[in-house]
């Protein structure tokens, strides 16, 4: 069973456009502030008086015209409610406008009939919208995403090409197109779309994409230096520089330059996007950051991926499942949430559920070998050995070899060939050890123990004891979930309580009774608040 989530990069996300439009990703790098709308309140009062004197739908519509004034909006909502209560003429559209906040995040758990229906009705709605207006850019992007999720790659590509024709300079369109080709494994093409666009030299969001995509494509980033200069010279608003800083932090971290990576990630976390925050939560342990800043915790709440990672780190299986489903609803084409769900269900011995999600994932990406490995495992676990072997034979990626050895071990167990199973599991264990993944080696043995017990293998007690011993030396959350089901007395893994670095510190000056924020990465275990020295405030750190 392939474990948890693979390494992530700061590749642009492809959410439903309604969600993307909520993010700073859509914001322009220009600085031309606009004023909130304020209308003539005397005129509003006159319109309300006219409606009260003659409560027609027309007069109510004239009152509703003022709704874009934030001060008047609640008053108008009250008037519409009053109109409904008094059975005055109110049109469905007038009611709809003031129905209140509607949670439009649709959970599309397509393993259920209801989920499939939601998915299909969304596709039908987008088709209707495009029939009315084929130039509807947002509908094109949304339908392309759903088509890709349904495995219709050509249709998705056609829609994206239309969108690119309509908005060749649109940042969202370019990033979406790049994400599409990343999904297809065409990293070079994705990278080219961004590098060849003239706007990339000026737009920090495109620059960030270029840096991440260069990393994915294994080529030199042409924008990394410029991005770094942009950050150093603060040439744009911090919210626009966040993703560049995040992408550069990722590159620095991969190169082992943790000090530089920390400084960059701190800058990224000043205005974190959902993408950055997920990256920060995933890399949190390696970077050693305390992610308890208000801006960070707020950003976590906006990112289902980050919430999933946090729930997982806190051993909250139900929460992790919920957030994974939410993440899948946002990016139904992506195999990452599906990979997580299939892993989780396998750890919980819910193999049929796992199989359902693997199938779902393979529709969107039939060539995802990580999912095929999970398919092989789940098939073997339910005793469908023939299909498990077919799945194994489809996999070419050498990195997955240790996982496949373990699955072959499982197949041998199911066949009752205990000696062969022992040999295969040992081979898997050694392969994981060779790549310095003792946690995965221990997990392989934990699975071996579980299936040995289920298969009444002659020395299952010994294997179980060995699994316990190996788990105690190389613990992982996956391993704990498995072992705690096999041996209920398995001690829980303490939630990481290593001292962490802070992104900022507060300095309290008792003389002036003030609290001042001191930005900069602190040493490990630094307190959140420190007292100012009597002579002067310490200089702020970089």
């Amino acid at each position: 069973m392939k474990s948890s989530l693979p390494r992530r990069r700061l590749i642009p996300r492809w959410r439903p456009t309604s969600q993307t439009l909520e993010t700073s990703e859509v914001a322009s790098t220009l600085n031309q502030p606009s004023a909130p709308l304020r209308f003539d309140h005397q005129l509003f009062d006159e319109s309300v008086a006219a409606w009260r004197a003659n409560p027609t739908a027309g007069h109510l519509g004239d009152v509703i015209a003022f709704a874009a004034d934030a001060d008047l909006h609640p008053k108008i909502a009250d008037l519409v409610r009053e109109a409904q209560a008094r059975s005055f003429a109110v049109s469905p559209v007038q009611k709809e406008l003031f129905r209140g906040v509607v949670d439009d995040a649709v959970h599309t758990d397509e393993s259920t009939a209801e989920g499939r229906l939601v998915f299909q009705s969304r596709v039908a709605q987008l088709r209707r919208e495009l029939l009315v207006a084929p130039e509807n850019l947002l509908a094109l992007l949304d339908l392309a995403q759903l088509q890709l999720a349904a495995g219709k790659v050509d249709a998705a590509e056609r829609l994206l090409k239309t969108a690119m024709g309509l908005a060749p300079n649109g940042r969202i369109v370019l990033r979406t197109a790049a994400r599409f080709y990343v999904h297809l494994g065409m990293f070079d093409r994705a990278h080219q779309i961004i590098t060849r666009h003239p706007g990339t030299k000026k737009d920090p969001w495109l620059m960030a994409s270029e840096i991440a995509l260069a990393d994915a494509a294994g080529v030199h980033s042409s924008m990394a230096q410029q991005g770094l200069r942009l950050i150093k010279e603060a040439q744009a608003l911090p919210r626009h520089l966040a993703e560049v800083a995040g992408a550069l932090a990722n590159s620095e971290m991969m190169a082992g330059r943790f000090k530089e990576a920390r400084q960059l990630l701190r800058k990224a976390l000043l205005h974190p996007t959902d993408n950055i925050i997920a990256q920060a939560v995933m890399d949190g342990a390696r970077m050693g950051f305390e992610l308890d800043e208000p801006t960070v915790t707020k950003a976590v709440k906006r990112s289902s991926e980050a919430q999933l990672l946090q729930a997982w780190q806190n051993r909250d299986e139900a929460g992790a499942e919920r957030h994974a489903l939410q993440w899948h609803a946002e990016e139904p084409f992506s195999s990452r949430p599906i990979q997580f769900l299939t892993t989780l269900y396998s750890l919980q011995s819910e193999y049929e559920k796992s199989l359902g999600w693997v199938r779902r994932g393979l529709i969107a990406d039939p060539s995802d070998e990580g999912l095929i490995a999970n398919l092989a495992f789940a098939k073997a676990a339910v005793g469908d050995i023939q299909h498990a072997e077919v799945a194994i034979n489809r996999i070419k990626d050498a990195k997955l070899a240790p996982y496949l050895k373990a699955t072959e071990g499982l197949i041998a167990l199911k066949r009752g060939d205990f000696a062969k199973a022992e040999a295969l599991y040992r081979e898997a264990e050694q392969n994981f050890e060779k790549v310095s993944r003792p946690d995965l080696a221990a997990l392989a043995i934990a699975y071996y123990a579980k299936f040995a017990v289920e298969s009444d293998a002659p020395d299952s007690a010994r294997i179980r004891a060995e699994a316990e011993a190996k788990f105690s030396k190389a613990r992982s959350i996956d391993g704990y979930l498995l072992m705690s089901r096999l041996v209920p007395s398995t001690p829980a893994i303490p939630i990481d309580d290593e001292p962490k670095r802070r992104l900022t510190q507060w300095v309290f000056d008792s003389d002036s009774n003030t609290l001042t924020e001191r930005p900069g990465v602190t040493a490990k275990g630094a307190p959140a608040i420190v007292l100012a020295s009597r002579k002067a405030l310490p200089p702020s750190r970089r």
């Binding site: 322009s28 709308l37 003539d40 519509g61 709704a67 874009a68 009315v132 509807n136």
Partner: protein, 352 residues
């Protein structure tokens, strides 16, 4: 002081004071009346210069009021002289002095104009009160009224339901006739006016989206005729859904893109999103309300009338010709044709 009961030199008797004063920045000094003469009715807009003298800056207020009154009167006189059939007519203008001592400073200036049976707000008792045929007929009338103004270098700038007046009681829908009223906010190409310098002359809640973000196009066509076109498009939503387009669009904008939060200027990224959101509104709100046979034509008209880019808004063919006119006159036959088609569909439907 009320003028109710007073008879003007022209013979019109002011019979009823209206609760709402007519709009305009001088509205504090304007009162509306219904007047009668020989069984005919008229609307009288009375401008009280005496009240203006009590303003904190009476000279400025008087100058402004005089300019407004004169500008509106001249615009209406132009309509009269040019026989513009879909604009409310000006019967006369005169002064009335209620002061027994006849102090010349106590004069009230009155514009006496055509009165209708009520504006669109009153006529639209409930959504669906008008058949599709009637809706398109109203829109053809309004488009004609505005194109008549545009032809003479005048832009209305305040097209809204309260300024679209029904000239009949609507008891016989096929005889319905609508006219555009209140020329108090017009801007003219041929002469300077009191509203030329304002970022938006009309009521803010009916302004096109570019004005929300502070963009005033430099060319007359893009700034003036184009905004009239958007307001005509918004009227389609009002008539068919009971709500103008502007609050529908605003409600679909995400917080980061709303005026006040957005700082990217009125540029392509914003226009692209606005265009898509409007297309979604058309698809969700309007399309289900018209017969399938008329949907394509209506959608085509709307895409041109409400394009969020003021430089592209208007009739496609007119826009590519010399002068790049918005071409509201070209929408008149398009709306008329829709009205006729809708009428046929409705009659066929009503046939047992």
């Amino acid at each position: 002081m009320t003028l109710t009961g007073q008879t003007l030199p022209s013979g019109w008797t002011l019979v009823q004071q209206l609760s709402k004063s007519p709009g305009g920045s001088g509205s504090n000094f304007c009162v509306g009346y219904v007047a009668e003469r020989d069984g005919r009715k008229a609307f009288v807009k009375a401008i009280d210069f005496v009240k203006a003298l009590n303003a904190p800056d009476p000279i400025a207020e008087l100058a402004s009021l005089t300019s407004l009154a004169t500008f509106e009167r001249e615009a209406m006189e132009l309509c009269e002289a040019k026989n513009l059939s879909r604009l409310i007519r000006l019967f006369s203008h005169e002064y009335v002095n209620l002061d027994p001592a006849k102090n010349p400073l106590n004069q009230v200036y009155c514009l006496i104009m055509e009165v209708g049976a009520g504006d669109l707000r009153k006529q639209l008792s409930h959504v669906g009160a008008f058949s599709c045929g009637t809706v398109f007929s109203i829109l053809a009338d309004v488009a004609l009224g505005m194109s008549q103004l545009h032809r003479h270098g005048v832009a209305h700038q305040d097209v809204k339901p309260s300024n679209v007046i029904s000239m009949t009681d609507m008891s016989v829908p096929k005889n319905a006739l609508f006219k555009v009223g209140d020329l108090g906010r017009v801007v003219r190409k041929d002469r300077a006016g009191p509203y030329d310098g304002l970022p938006w002359p009309g009521d803010g809640q009916y302004a096109p989206p570019e004005r929300w973000y502070g963009l005033v196009p430099t060319q007359w066509t893009d700034a003036r005729e184009s905004s009239d076109a958007y307001m005509l498009g918004s009227l389609v939503f009002f008539l068919l859904a009971g709500t103008p387009l502007q609050p529908l669009l605003w409600s679909r904008l995400t917080p980061v893109m709303k005026p006040g939060a957005w700082s990217g200027g009125y540029t392509e990224p914003l226009i692209l999103v606005l265009r898509s959101l409007q297309l979604n509104i058309i698809s969700d709100v309007l399309v289900p309300k018209v017969p399938p046979a008329l949907q394509d034509s209506l959608v085509a008209i709307l895409k041109e009338l409400i394009d969020p880019d003021p430089l592209k808004r208007g009739d496609r063919r007119a826009r590519v010709q010399a002068g790049k006119a918005v071409g509201l006159d070209r929408f008149v036959p398009r709306f008329r044709q829709l009205a006729n088609q809708a009428g046929i569909i409705e009659r066929v439907k009503a046939t047992p």
